[in-house]
């Protein structure tokens, strides 16, 4: 019980892995499968780390899925037009960043609730994406070199896992070890206090939203590289899952605050459950039932343990 209380969902993750490993030592419990899970979780985790930044502020960015789709489609469209890889990537990341900055500006400057601001702005981005792609899936002209950024392995580690590792380290340092990170936590913890001591609240909020969108853009690029095609609603699945990861992570460490390590744990839980249930051959509907139940159990377990103290 003490473990549950202290480490919450981190412990739940370990337990879930253990259960699956016992149930399927041949398929689930192998090193290659566990490595594979890190790859499967990587795009979700990258989006979720972005969402963590805005959640630290106590805000939501519901446009992340729209940005993922946008980034994928606009990259594919640029490739089709023959633009070189480096320029495509820079342009797409810059556009994503700018979109996040717009959301952040609306929230910080005009105090539009982030939920509605990013929802509405996400709809706008979705419209843009449909415009660019004419609603179609784009797959021609995506260079193999670009595709290799989202597949294959380096020294046995899947490339998407490496991307995730890099993003996780950078953003963990940013949130935990820099003044910017401390300021974000301060703004999220008590916006009034942050204003009273003269923190650059607006600027920091804009930056956080911009970084969040840039990560979503990166995930969109990697998704397109991974699939070799771009779908105008390809990012749709990431929205709720990313926030599920952040919320799961909030019960993992610290005083219920969003954090990068926590979000990684959350994303890992989601990926492990989906991987494990498929490997065990559980039918679709039961997978949904169990996924929901396991996530609930993972957050409940700590709260129940705390109560009993």
């Amino acid at each position: 019980m003490i473990l549950f209380r202290r480490y919450g969902t981190l412990f739940a993750l370990a337990l879930i892995v253990l259960v699956f490993a016992v149930a399927s030592p041949q398929a689930f419990g192998t090193v290659s499968n566990l490595v594979n899970i890190t790859q499967q979780m990587s795009l979700l985790a990258i989006v979720a780390i972005g969402a963590t930044l805005v959640m630290v502020l106590g805000e939501f960015d519901l446009s992340v899925s729209a940005v993922v789709s946008f980034a994928g489609i606009s990259a594919a469209a640029l490739f089709a037009a023959g633009v070189p890889i480096a320029i495509v990537m820079l342009a797409v990341l810059a556009a994503s960043l700018a979109m996040g900055a717009v959301s952040g500006f609306l929230v910080a400057r005009y105090r539009v609730p982030s939920f509605i601001a990013t929802l509405a702005f996400g709809t706008v981005i979705g419209g843009l994406t449909f415009w660019i792609s004419n609603g179609a899936t784009l797959f021609s002209g995506i260079p193999a070199v670009f595709r290799d950024l989202g597949r294959g392995t380096i020294l046995g580690v899947p490339v998407p896992t490496l991307w995730l590792a890099g993003v996780a380290v950078v953003f963990w340092l940013l949130l935990d070890k820099t003044e910017f990170g401390r300021r974000l936590y301060a703004i999220g913890g008590n916006r009034e206090a942050a204003r009273l001591v003269g923190l650059p609240v607006r600027r920091d909020m804009v930056v956080a939203f911009a970084l969040c969108a840039a990560l979503a853009g990166l995930a969109g690029l990697l998704l397109t590289a991974r699939l070799g095609s771009a779908h105008p609603t390809g990012g749709g699945g990431y929205l709720l899952q990313a926030y599920a990861a952040v919320f799961l992570g909030m019960t993992a460490f610290r005083e219920g605050e969003p954090s990068v390590p926590g979000t990684l744990v959350g994303a890992a839980i989601i990926a492990v459950v989906s991987n494990g249930l498929t490997i065990l051959g559980v039918p679709s509907f039961l997978q949904d039932l169990l996924t929901g139940a396991i996530i609930l159990a993972a957050v409940l377990v700590r709260n129940v343990a705390r109560e009993e103290r």
Binding site: L173, T178, E179, N190, A194, L196, V197, G198, L199, E255
Partner: protein
């Protein structure tokens, strides 16, 4: 010596909608002086300092620093001028500890590109050692008591040298010893050349600590001068508008209460309770009967709050029992446990009956509770003032007994009555409690329970931040409640208040009852000594202990 201010505020005006929070306020502060800013609740003190801190822009008036007019367009600008603020409503980040909070908005010490946690802590520990050696530095602010949070704020303000430190009611939740420690720090600051602007409703403290004073009334400066040339009665008279300046004219009339107008004549409180605050002060039980020999209204034998705290006690009808202790001694925890708001093990009986579960069960048995932290535990800022007042017993305001439909008219009438009784100054019953001044918010919390039959009243710092006039009203209400046969348990850090009201005093130290004082044994020295954990017969002044 001539009066040579380095900072001068002239004719500041600030309106909030129809409310004139500041209406021509002047203030001049000399370098290295301790300057008192006093005034009734809602006089505009907090608004004045928020304007000085750059949070509000004045509608008119000038601020001059070293003789030159300046505009302070934000907290950063004020900071750059060497001004530091401790605002009335505490502003800590709840999940940061005292160290993290102290560094917000400052340039953090770094190692390479990253912040250096160890250096941060060392610096804070150094400052805290001087002011608040007992402050737990590693606990999130959310789990500190208001007193501890107050200290964390003070630590934060004193992290760097300043020209002026503004403290808005810093001692309102500190007990005697801690307040004295703060006074020592203030004197030392002044000696080092840093001016202190000190806002307080504890007038004795003001007279003792400060060199000059400014009195605000209805947003206007109505008096200023050297403390040496005025006494307590003089201050009170100026604050309330009685005496030399007369009642103000042309004041806005307010729906909840005709603002201040008649205050000079009827109120300014039973001054006697402040005039002679010295123990022993044998307050008789307020029902006029012998306290002993009666059936207790409240009997409790409880483990409460942090591990190891336990208390057995009985409250008898007509008693006002004071609960004293240092910051973090466990007074609030005890009250919350009695109220059923935090789980505790043990027994509690009201009039011999075990009450139902939680606060609702206590309310059903006639218990009432005024929490300590008004922002966090008291007010629902999304609701109007009158809805906040009605919240605790909504069912009393039904248009028809049998239907759970509150009558707006009844709620308004209650709000009007209560507002009148407690001199609540507000823009109107419909506005948010966020627009109330600190003291008026406190009155609102207390006012919730008026007009209900009460058997046991638990109050935690009932007059925190309340001006002398209204303090008298609240004290009178508590006496009246006691004399109706109820028992009152009052946790307070204000020793004057303790003296004025208590028939008996329980002193807690680290979660344990260390002394029960009444009659002849009830002396100020005994109370303070017990609070510091000494046997009552070997009293030592707290100043000796602060080293």
């Amino acid at each position: 010596m001539t009066f040579a201010p380095f900072l001068a505020l002239d004719g500041l005006v600030k309106h909030f909608g129809a409310t004139k929070a500041l209406d021509g306020a002047d203030l001049a502060i000399e370098a290295g002086s301790v300057h008192a800013l006093v005034g009734e609740n809602g006089a505009g003190k907090s608004t004045l300092i928020k304007t000085l801190s750059g949070l509000y822009q004045p509608d008119a008036g000038t601020i001059r620093l070293d003789g030159a007019p300046v505009t302070i367009d934000g907290p950063r600008a004020a900071e750059a001028m060497g001004l530091r603020f401790i605002h009335q409503e505490l502003n800590l980040v709840p999940h940061f500890d005292a160290v993290g909070n102290a560094w917000i908005g400052r340039r953090h010490p770094r190692r390479g590109p990253f912040i250096d946690g160890r250096a941060m802590r060392a610096k804070v520990a150094e400052v805290a050692a001087r002011i608040a050696p007992d402050l737990p530095l590693d606990r999130p602010a959310a789990r500190l008591t208001p007193g501890q949070r107050q200290m964390a704020e003070i630590v934060r303000a004193l992290m760097e040298p300043a020209r002026l430190v503004v403290m808005d009611e810093p001692t309102s939740s500190l007990s005697e010893g801690e307040a004295e420690r703060l006074h020592a720090v203030v004197r030392q600051l002044a000696a080092e050349g840093c001016a202190v602007l000190f806002i307080s409703h504890r007038l004795d403290e003001v007279l003792d600590l400060c060199g000059r004073y400014t009195v605000l009334r209805n947003g206007r400066t109505v008096g200023a001068g050297a403390i040496a040339e005025i006494d307590r009665a003089g201050l009170v008279a100026r604050m309330s508008g009685q005496g030399t300046l007369g009642t103000g004219s042309g004041e806005p009339s307010l729906p909840l209460r005709e603002r201040v107008g008649e205050r000079g004549t009827t109120s300014v409180s039973p001054v006697e309770s402040f005039a002679s605050p010295a123990f022993p002060h044998p307050n008789p039980p307020h029902k006029g009967e012998g306290a002993s020999g009666q059936k207790p209204v409240l009997a409790a034998d409880l483990a409460f709050g942090p591990a190891g705290s336990r208390i057995a006690m009985q409250l008898r009808p007509g008693e006002i029992v004071g609960l004293y202790g240092l910051v973090g001694a466990g007074r609030s925890s005890l009250l919350r446990t009695l109220w059923g708001a935090t789980p505790g093990r043990g027994l509690i009986a009201i009039d011999g009956q075990v009450p139902g579960h939680g606060p609702a069960g206590r309310i059903a048995r006639g218990m009432a509770y005024v929490p300590e932290d008004r922002r966090r535990e008291g007010l629902a800022l999304a609701l109007s003032i009158e809805d906040n007042l009605a919240l605790a017993h909504l069912a009393d305001f039904r248009a028809r007994r049998s239907l759970p439909l509150p009558s707006k008219a009844k709620i308004r009438a209650f709000a009007k009555r209560t507002g009148d009784r407690l001199r609540l100054v507000a823009a109107g019953p419909d506005s948010s409690p966020a627009t109330l001044s600190g003291g008026n918010q406190q009155k609102l919390l207390f006012g919730r329970w008026l007009g209900r039959p009460i058997r046991v009243l638990l109050v935690d710092e009932p007059t925190r931040g309340v001006d002398v006039g209204a303090k008298g009203e609240i004290h009178a209400e508590m006496r009246r409640i006691a004399s109706d046969g109820a028992a009152v348990l009052m946790a307070t850090s204000d020793i004057e208040e303790l003296a004025a009201l208590s028939t008996r005093v329980l002193v807690l130290h680290a979660g344990r009852l260390v002394a029960e004082l009444d009659g002849a044994s009830l002396t100020r020295a005994a109370v303070v000594a017990a609070a510091f954990g000494h046997a009552p017969d070997e009293p030592r002044p707290p100043s000796e202990l602060s080293a």
